[in-house]
Symmetry: C2
Subunit: 462 residues, 2 copies
């Protein structure tokens, strides 16, 4: 006998939780589709040579390799032939480069799949997790307007997920670079080092960061450091406030990079408003930098207003060139990613998973009497034809047990039909949510339950 | 520069095909849910020790192992710690045994995930492919009634998939065993050997099989062999024909196993009828044996009537005990599996994939004039709020190019709003399917398109 268990670092759910998780994934997908994004799925493994174009990075340290029994026995030198994807961006780059001549650009794609990283096992860290990505890829160029559309998608997704108030925060790397240049931090590498220190603000406090930046090693003038610390504290309080922040920055530091970044942010702000995103749901946050090598324009983070400790639940940005390892074509893009497994885990920890009480099974036909088995199946057939997810009690059990089962399983309606009801052409329905019982004509059963379920759905805002 | 390419043996689709494939997966899932099955997802990898409880089998030869960079460098003896799942049955056994005390039995679960096998690379053989499984697992016992429900699910799935007429064919291993015993083939192992020869009927013909079974090695009496060959040719022509076939068999060979099998088939037939499955969609097929070690009662195969060469598109059966390697509990079950990747590939080869012309994007808002960008976004917002998947042209292009793009992408409606339309509070809509253009009030745009789309959906039977 072998002890049944999963490998460490994976999230496996019981059916009730899986239903809630699946609902969240469906909501994300529905919103991605609503904005015209097209589905892509790529294989879980890629050729190692293709996946690991950059060698020696931190990511590669975490890669899982895959090999068949045959390859394992043969052994051989070098890396195994195949590796599991560690994100959805590298597979996207490979996909777009491989199918470049079969795709229409700008190419809006979404991808909802699991990725694999050999993280150290610890609470809330997963070795297998869902990413829900969207990207828009241009050929040669891509309008900054798409950067605004991304914000509208994020807003649409999290509004419909219904996990509380949230703010999409954004910044622009050009604006940031221009500002740093104006403070005499011109070199990109030095900017990265300064940003790394600035990132310690929350943990170490302003004094520590100020001392580091003015001290040996950085040797920045105190005035410049003060301005940097002021800059990264900026959050806009409204749409107009965001615009006036940009105006002020441009007036103070009119270098090319800063002006270009400010102009991009202005266009993004204007279109975000046109897209109907309420201004309480977005703001400028000049501390956001994200991947320091990768992003070049707009950068995004999203926070739950009441749970800032969860950190960013959706991040991304604009990049210059998606697939330089695979094609000579220039493919600029903008995209974001939601780490759904970790988000679900965090929401569950915080008690914020809603609808976990509600099964995907909406009705159960009880079995009152062995002789009525065939009739139960007919009732179930009518319910299913009417679009109601229905389970049938197939084995004789005490009626109390049947109700107990339905209640524990989160099934809302229990349908009963004894000889008396059958003779009168009706069925009895027990509504376990409203705790009411009613009779309905057999022909009207499905449509009646459908109306009830749609009302409940409308009330829950789904 | 590295050539972008997938590993051999995987099916990667372009967006248009991916939409069609996703629709098929959604249909399967919707039908599984409709019958009250609950979702389960398991990690792509399992501990090797847990996954590979039986060693040395053909399946293990095809297993992919996964290991992180660290583990790879360390080397070490024996198998790598983890292996990719090669089906969804072993993970189900592990899942049910691990969560036995948290699940309600009978446990109806569906699982739609990819599995991995190191097949030899050849056309139509995949190393990564989707399986769509349902199983009902009982504790200690499980009524044969569930065997009938499975047939109704299969019927519901393939009816809605709309890939042509099909027949769910079934048999019963007990009936088969009883019949073989009556012909003097008593030993289970010998029965398996005889069945293997019988399986060659199609390829080698009756004479060859008859000679083998009567010849050296088997030494079966000619009369018995004739009866066996007659038995495996039996297909029922109607519901009543199926029942009378069973009556005749019971009258001729009244041994316990055959009678039990016949009784089970009778109950299955009765309930399948009660479940409303039309009798043209199912039949007895006494040649079906399936996995010779594993299945013990009802066994299923499903064929497309017009494409028998595709073989069984959905197979499974009843088994005695799901998880004997992991738990002492007896867990009998019944289930089926649809190999969706291979099915999609075969249907595509046969030109049977429908709806590939229809994008998941339903409307495109054209950009007629730079100055109308913000207005385009507002129109799109209204469409999306009304449930229409909508893409916006974000970059200035000739209007002819915009139409060409929408047409190639399979987007049905192109929405146009110039200054004139805006002044009159209307938009123009070009319906690329009906090749008509019409005007509609801005407020009524989404609801108008929704009606059109629902009509089309109703016509297509979706």
């Amino acid at each position: 006998m072998i002890k049944p268990r999963t490998p460490p670092g994976v999230m496996e759910l019981l059916p009730r939780e899986q239903i809630a998780f699946q609902r969240m994934l469906d909501t994300v997908r529905r919103n991605y589709e609503r904005f015209g994004f097209l589905p892509v799925e790529t294989p879980v493994f890629e050729l190692s040579e293709v996946l690991l174009t950059k060698s020696g990075g931190e990511t590669e340290r975490q890669v899982y390799f895959a090999q068949s029994t045959g390859a394992l026995e043969k052994g051989g030198e070098g890396l195994p032939e195949m590796a599991l994807r560690f994100d959805l961006t590298v597979p996207l780059a490979r996909y777009v480069a491989e199918h470049e001549h079969e795709l229409a650009f700008p190419f809006r794609r979404f991808q909802i799949q699991r990725v694999y990283r050999g993280e150290r096992a610890q609470r809330g860290r997963f070795r297998e997790f869902y990413q829900c990505d969207i990207d828009v890829i241009g050929k040669d160029e891509l309008s900054v307007r798409f950067d605004a559309e991304i914000i509208a998608v994020i807003h649409s997704v999290f509004s419909e997920l219904g996990i509380g108030a949230f703010t999409v925060q954004f910044n622009n790397r050009k604006l940031m670079r221009g500002f740093f240049e104006a403070q005499g931090v011109v070199d990109a590498e030095q900017q990265a080092l300064v940003l790394r220190e600035v990132d310690k603000l929350d943990k170490r406090g302003a004094d520590y960061v100020r001392e580091t930046l003015t001290g040996e090693g950085f040797n920045l003038p105190a005035e410049g450091v003060a301005k940097i610390l002021e800059f990264v504290e900026v959050r806009s309080k409204s749409h107009d406030d965001a615009l006036s922040i940009l105006d002020k920055l441009v007036a103070q530091h009119a270098n090319a990079s800063l002006v270009e970044g400010a102009n991009e942010l202005r266009e993004v702000l204007t279109l975000v408003k046109a897209l109907g995103v309420p201004e309480g749901a977005y703001c400028l946050n000049l501390s956001i930098a994200r991947g320091l090598d990768y992003y070049t324009g707009t950068v995004y983070e999203t926070q739950l207003d009441d749970y800032p400790q969860i950190g960013s639940i959706c991040s991304g940005g604009r990049y210059e060139n998606l697939a330089s390892h695979y094609t000579k074509s220039k493919l600029p893009g903008v995209g974001i990613s939601i780490g759904m497994t970790r988000l679900f885990w965090q929401l569950r920890e915080a008690g914020l998973i809603s609808g976990i009480d509600e099964s995907s099974v909406q009705a159960m036909v009880a079995l009152m009497d062995e002789a009525r088995m065939a009739d139960s199946l007919d009732i179930a057939r009518r319910l299913r034809a009417g679009g109601i997810n229905t389970e049938v009690q197939m084995e004789p059990k005490k009626i109390g047990k049947q109700f107990q089962y339905a209640s524990r399983a989160g099934i809302r309606f229990v349908v009963l039909c004894g000889d008396d009801e059958a003779a009168r052409g009706v069925v009895a329905v027990k509504d376990l949510v409203r705790e009411q019982q009613f009779e309905v004509k057999r022909d009207e059963l499905a449509s009646t339950l459908k109306v009830e379920l749609e009302q409940a759905r409308a009330l829950a805002g789904r």
